[in-house]
């Protein structure tokens, strides 16, 4: 049993085990060698060994900066992107290894909402056709029954049923996002990946969509993977939060703990960087400003991927890949400089890596 499984009071709806998604960028072939192209094979490890349980009826927030692999992870769970290896267990079946036909059956229960409400709706289809299409695909309803179901769905997401014959371009961003949500709900799913569902929307509309998703979760007993780079939104909607950096999960805890008592230096910097809408707090606040950019996932740093920007990094961090382990109850982190007996990195003696002794790391 790995550490992430230890929370056993609830059964997970989805269990992800050592999931990897690697993209081959070419290079390293015979022709490359002969013609002096890229002599080395280049691979982007977008998701590099993620293990995670998503529990029934929870919202798991997945946060990270652009290029960290959070959207790829979301898509790989639904196999919209093919995983390279690993497992995604749902109802005792491994989604990562199902045949196309079997997968299609399961997809009914697993839906996705996209970031860009402008690009994710077919402009030539009416709202009725867009929302009704999944009903037809899965032969859930037809004719009059399907139409009634579509009307009901539109009302569920706060749209007038009169919209059924209109086209996407007639709607605002927030309304289109509601249409996308209605389409996802059409098949009565268990699980929805919400991939940056509010990022493209105005502030006043973001609140509406967050509240709608929360209402639907309660009424329809849904489970969400809520992917966002917006920590304020993540903190608001999530029960638990997973923080991702360069293809790996680096910290998992409940939302309040992540915000108020983060363990990882990266999470601390991320939270510190979020501007608070209060001039008094902002005036006195000491911000941790990280130096440098997120390294390229094509050529990630050795050892701990964060060591190039980490204010607490020591030499060992360049060599040892930290594993995600439980540091406090239900609070996991991947850092060799902390351990269950010494969870606060500020209190650890300079140069010490207590995590090494308790088996937090492994030499790559």
């Amino acid at each position: 049993m790995s550490a992430v499984e230890s929370k056993t009071d609830r059964a997970p709806l989805i269990s992800i085990r050592d999931l990897k998604v690697h993209f081959d960028l070419g290079g390293g072939g015979v022709l490359d060698k002969l013609l002096g192209g890229k002599p080395e094979k280049r691979v982007v490890k977008a998701v590099d060994g993620v293990s995670l349980d998503i529990y029934h009826r929870e919202t798991l927030g997945l946060v990270g900066e652009s290029g960290c692999g959070k959207s790829t992870l979301g898509r790989a769970i639904l196999r919209l992107t093919e995983p390279t290896s690993g497992q995604v267990i749902y109802r005792d079946r491994d989604l990562a290894h199902l045949s196309e036909r079997q997968l299609r059956e399961e997809r009914r229960h697993l839906q996705i909402i996209f970031q860009d409400p402008y690009a994710s709706l077919n402009p030539r289809m009416t709202i009725g056709q867009i929302v009704g299409e999944p009903l037809e695909t899965f032969r859930l309803a037809r004719g009059r029954e399907a139409e009634e179901r579509v009307q009901e769905l539109l009302e569920t997401v706060g749209l007038s049923k009169r919209f059924i014959k209109r086209y996407p371009h007639e709607f605002s961003g927030g309304q289109r996002q509601r249409i996308g949500i209605a389409r996802a709900l059409a098949v009565d799913p268990d699980f929805i990946v919400a991939d940056e569902p509010i990022s493209a929307l105005d502030v006043s509309i973001q609140a509406q969509i967050m509240n709608l998703l929360e209402k639907l979760r309660r009424e329809k007993h849904l489970t969400y993977l809520f992917i966002s780079h917006d920590l304020r939104a993540i903190r608001h909607v999530s029960d638990r939060v997973a923080v991702m950096y360069l293809g790996r999960l680096v910290e998992i805890a409940d939302a309040k703990t992540i915000y108020h008592e983060p363990l990882m230096p990266y999470t601390k910097a991320l939270i510190s960087a979020v501007p608070v809408p209060d001039p008094q707090i902002e005036a006195t606040r000491q911000r941790i400003v990280l130096e440098g950019d997120v390294p390229s996932p094509i050529n990630p740093p050795s050892g701990c991927p964060f060591h190039t920007r980490c204010p607490y990094a020591i030499d060992v961090c360049k060599e040892v890949v930290p594993q995600l382990v439980q540091i406090k109850p239900s609070h996991f982190a991947a850092c060799i400089r902390i351990s269950p007996s010494q969870p606060n990195i500020e209190d650890v003696a300079p140069g010490d890596a207590p995590g090494l002794e308790s088996g937090v790391g492994q030499v790559r």
Binding site: M210, I271, V289
Partner: protein
């Protein structure tokens, strides 16, 4: 010169309209504000509120047709920019008023080396020789924190990350030591850790050079930490303006109040999030009365009928609302008077 009152910029009753198939869009409709030397002014609003058009109007970059500045004055250093010839305004742009935009990739020429793009600025505006311009370009890249600036100067834009490109844009904007920097959503396309870097950089450079800044953003968190004064725009109008600290503590407009409440506060217990109902208005088809009335929780009959007054609540705190004083009092304002 307008040195007496310390105003670098004074915008008076600016109106910028766009002729569209859908009718006349009054993107900016009668706004007035001042910016003092060395101050930072924030302009917040949702998409379509007119915040970007306001600033494009100031430097006269409104595409005409379909757009037109139909009336108003933009007094910069005592001179009305709207009356200048095209030739004269070109000398102001980039030299005395500089802009940085949301997307640094589309604002840089992909076929030109970074150094060349920076050198163009000072060769054109300051009459630098090639050598002077090159030395200045490298100095500016160092100022904005580009590591190994001398070598990086010969790179092309695509060889920089998003955050680094925004630094290059800032270097370019500040290379002629402008009196006013207009930053239109400068960090919206960036990650939070990079956003923090860029905001710190703008703050530091502002302190060092004394440049005045107009910061346009939709993010209330960003303006909270960066600005002295704040303007809240909605449907082409200023709905509220005042000192940033006062506006956050004692909002006097239901729209501002709603906006502040609809941003989740990560430091507090998470209850149900307040939401402003409805959608932003279609500016081409505004009804009489207050444009926010259909979404306002304080709405009364008069709001649908009459356009609201711009009420002065405090020394420099104004709100566009029939019930501005009530809203202000509810927030806890005006108790002393």
């Amino acid at each position: 010169m307008n040195e007496k009152d310390g105003n670098l910029l004074e915008v008076k009753d600016l109106r910028t309209y766009f002729e569209t198939d859908d009718g006349m869009v009054k993107a900016v409709d009668g706004i007035s504000f001042q910016l003092k030397r060395g101050e930072t002014l924030g302009i917040v609003g949702e998409s379509g509120s007119g915040k970007s058009v306001t600033n494009l109007s100031i430097i006269r970059l409104i595409p005409d047709p379909p757009g037109k500045i139909v009336s108003g004055e933009v007094i910069f250093n005592g001179q009305d920019l709207l009356l200048l010839t095209n030739e004269a305004i070109r000398k102001v742009r980039g030299r005395r008023i500089a802009m940085i935009f949301q997307d640094p990739m589309t604002s840089l020429n992909p076929f030109m080396k970074i150094s060349k793009q920076l050198m163009e600025m000072t060769q054109l505006h300051l009459g630098h020789s090639r050598a002077q311009a090159q030395a200045h370009a490298i100095k500016m890249l160092e100022t904005v924190g580009i590591p190994d600036a001398r070598a990086r100067a010969d790179n092309y834009p695509h060889e920089f990350s998003g955050g680094m490109r925004q630094r290059v844009m800032i270097a370019m904007a500040l290379s002629c030591e402008p009196e006013l920097l207009i930053a239109d959503e400068p960090t919206t396309a960036l990650d939070v850790t990079i956003q923090a870097q860029i905001l710190e950089l703008i703050k530091t450079l502002k302190k060092e050079t004394g440049t005045s800044v107009i910061l346009i953003t939709h993010d209330l968190g960003v303006v909270a930490g960066m600005t002295d004064h704040l303007i809240v725009m909605y449907a082409g109008k200023i709905f509220e303006q005042g000192k940033t600290s006062e506006l956050f503590a004692l909002p006097g407009n239901p729209y501002t109040k709603g906006l502040l409440r609809s941003v989740p506060d990560p430091t507090a217990e998470q209850g149900k999030l307040y939401q402003i109902p409805g959608l932003p208005p279609d500016v081409a088809h505004l009804k009489p009365g207050c444009p926010f009335a259909p979404r306002c929780e304080k709405v009364q009959e008069i709001c649908h009928r009459e356009f609201p007054p711009f009420v002065q609540l405090n020394a420099d705190h104004y709100s566009l609302c029939h019930f501005a004083r009530e809203v202000y009092a509810e927030s806890g304002g005006g108790r002393a008077s």
